[in-house]
């Protein structure tokens, strides 16, 4: 199974020159090539099962002087996709980064229908907008909730007295 995945990753690196592969076989793809990359995974490499869509918030780090960067929020948010192949048996983790100020990336609903609810959840809790999603609105929180809870700068008061 590892050999199959290795050869798949090698072929993908040849076709898409800008992707990076880490030691644990995690592929990072720039946002512009995301849709064509995912479509190729589904059509040519039998990856037909999208297991997991999630995102992590990495706010900007302090710069070298120890002061915070207050001109521009250089932080990023990473969106992670886990794709399985039922027939071939391997699984691949694909990551992509968007800017934290105005996070937008294309929706994967056109490739796999399983992205429907999971992308709505990522939008609800982190505020990342998926363009071309058929019905992007809040799913877990109520419609009048202000803010995005899973961001690192979300302030709230718990009920503990």
């Amino acid at each position: 199974m590892d050999n199959k995945l290795d050869s798949v990753i090698k072929e993908l690196q040849e076709k898409f020159s800008e992707i990076k592969v880490s030691e644990q076989q995690v592929v990072t793809v720039p946002v512009e090539q995301l849709t064509s990359f995912m479509q190729m995974l589904k059509d040519e490499y039998y990856m037909d099962f999208l297991t997991n869509v999630t995102a992590v918030d990495y706010p900007s780090d302090k710069n070298q002087n120890g002061e915070e960067d207050d001109e521009e929020d250089k932080g990023t948010m990473e969106v992670i996709y886990n794709v399985n192949s039922i027939t071939e048996g391997y699984t691949l983790m694909v990551k992509t980064s968007v800017a934290r100020q105005n996070p937008k990336l294309p929706s994967m609903f056109s490739v796999w229908g399983g992205a429907h609810f999971q992308e709505r959840e990522v939008f609800d809790l982190l505020g990342i907008i998926f363009t071309d999603h058929p019905d992007l609105k809040r799913i877990l929180l109520d419609d009048s909730f202000k803010g995005y809870p899973l961001r690192k700068d979300f302030q709230w008061v718990g009920g503990r007295k």
Partner: protein, 166 residues
């Protein structure tokens, strides 16, 4: 027989005739047949509602097994599980739709004070923030025996309504 002169009444009369205020008679009827409202929120509902009604811890031997889904026909609201801010408005509406006299049992630590989720941004710290609670049953989740004990304390409270104020 002249009761006005304080003659002792014949023994059959003592045995067969009881005089009591109407409220006490109604309380006896209410206490022995409380109808819970079928309303489970989270994990405590599996233990408190379904486990207690199950074959081993049988709630019907006390007369409380009639679970009515409509709030108009129920007496007791058993709040079992965590209350979130999205669910709070309709819980209040269900409570207001129940007709008097009505009572409330809060089962599990989430319904008493928020439980392990009290620090969350979306959890109401206890049912007492929304509705007046009569009996608290602690546990996470409490055993069905503890829930039956809670029902029996409620029965005690219904039969002697002045106990709490005294």
């Amino acid at each position: 027989m002249d009761l006005k002169n304080n003659e002792p009444a014949p023994s059959e009369l003592n045995r067969l005739v009881h005089l009591a205020p109407l409220e006490k008679v109604l309380n006896i009827a209410r206490a022995h047949s409380l109808w819970p409202m079928q309303f489970g929120l989270a994990c405590c509902a599996i233990e408190a509602l379904m486990g207690t009604n199950g074959p081993r811890y049988d709630l019907s031997r006390f007369g409380y097994e009639v679970m009515r889904t409509s709030p108009r026909q129920a007496d007791v609201m058993v709040v079992a599980g965590t209350i979130t801010y999205k669910a709070a408005p309709f819980i209040l509406r269900l409570w207001e739709q129940m007709s008097e006299p009505k009572w409330c049992i809060a089962v599990g630590s989430c319904a008493i004070s928020g439980g392990p989720f009290v620090d969350s941004y979306y959890v109401v710290p206890g049912a007492k923030e929304l509705i007046p609670v009569d009996v608290y049953v602690p546990g996470c989740p409490p055993r069905p025996d503890a829930v039956i004990d809670g029902f029996l304390r409620l029965k005690n409270k219904v039969l002697n309504p002045k106990v709490v104020e005294g």
